[in-house]
Symmetry: none
């Protein structure tokens, strides 16, 4: 599901937005100040961020700057009360993708959100994830490699999706166990490793030297795009 993070300290506004976005079928997370928002966006990158500029503590500009410096690539839509032209320019220079000035119409906002997501999802249809030569269609749960379908067992796909959710960063075995298996136990068996091996066998060119499903010693696994 497409995930949107709303970083906005006016909670009335934030929850209003959440309602409208959820009706449109998005999964919505709300952060009520800059640092919370930044943390949330880093640990679990959403598909789009709606960012208020005037925030207590860490303001919107700094959040945006930190995000982009951290390599975050998702579209960011800025909400600004001041229709000061310079804010818009400054925001766009820092890597915002669009802005809406308050007060704004919900319809306008929704339309812009959709436009940004459509643009962002230009390579590859919505609902299909990809890395390397692999395409995952979340709608049908079909996975293809070089255009040829690959049969993944349910657990394998779940594991792959958990890695995808946090692509780029290291995910520990314990976290994978929790996300995919629901346990909270320490890992003493080779369960995760076995499934990783199977994924490599099915998805990597040279399973012995994986190019995407990487091991990070003493830390866990990482999915590289």
């Amino acid at each position: 599901m497409t995930r949107v993070l709303v970083i906005e300290d006016n909670l009335d506004l934030a929850y209003g937005l959440r309602n409208n976005l959820e009706i449109e079928g998005y999964e919505v997370d709300v952060a009520e100040d800059g640092s919370i928002g930044l943390a949330r966006a880093t640990e679990r990158p959403p598909d789009l961020i709606i960012l208020d500029l005037t925030l207590p503590g860490l303001d919107g500009f700094r959040v945006l700057k930190a995000l982009r410096e951290g390599g975050a690539a998702m579209p960011v839509l800025i909400l600004t009360a001041r229709d000061a032209e310079s804010d818009k320019v400054r925001g766009l220079k820092l890597g915002a993708d669009d802005y809406v000035t308050k007060p704004f119409g919900v319809l306008e906002l929704l339309a812009r959100v959709e436009a940004l997501l459509r643009r962002g999802a230009a390579p590859g249809a919505r609902g299909s994830l990809r890395f390397g030569e692999v395409v995952i269609d979340t709608r049908t749960r079909v996975v293809e490699r070089r255009g040829a379908p690959v049969a993944l067992a349910p657990k394998e796909l779940d594991l792959l999706l958990a890695l995808w959710e946090r692509r780029g960063s290291v995910v520990s075995r314990a976290e994978l166990m929790r996300e995919v298996w629901g346990y909270q136990t320490d890992v003493l068996s080779r369960t995760v490793d076995t499934h990783i091996a199977e994924l490599r066998r099915k998805l990597e060119n040279d399973p012995g030297r994986p190019a995407h499903i990487l091991t990070v010693r003493k830390a866990g696994y990482r999915l590289a795009l």
Copy 2:
């Protein structure tokens, strides 16, 4: 100009719809109960009807039934409360073309209206759903395979329509139970599977290796076109 008839007793909602539709360039007529709507639709057939199911007096189902029996062919989009999932199937069986559950997003509604009108412009596309060698006539409730009629039990047709609604995507047993049976229980019996098996027996060339009514292990079923 393209004309839309909105049959809806909640006038706030009705006029809200009218505004939005007019902004999109449609000519909009509002009828506030079922018999008025039916009369209006008969005397001056619009290009599309948006029909609320819960209406005072003549309810939406009856309006729809009367319309279709009277030979009206324009696309009908029904509005239904979210908790009445099985209404969707019933509506589609009576010859509705699409539905939107309340509360709904305006964007979604407009998109669906546009889609219906575009589709309606294509000859022969309306009223008959198809996949593979199977044709479902929603008007007459007749299902054909390779041109020969196939006798489907009511539940089987309901199930097939529920799959058709979400064709291409995986639909879980729980969702099918909810849409077709109206329960909210977990699935512990083989009810869904049994009906799926029956559909395969009647509609697939090789029921053992279905080409359209597919199993997605651990996830549910999927209708492939």
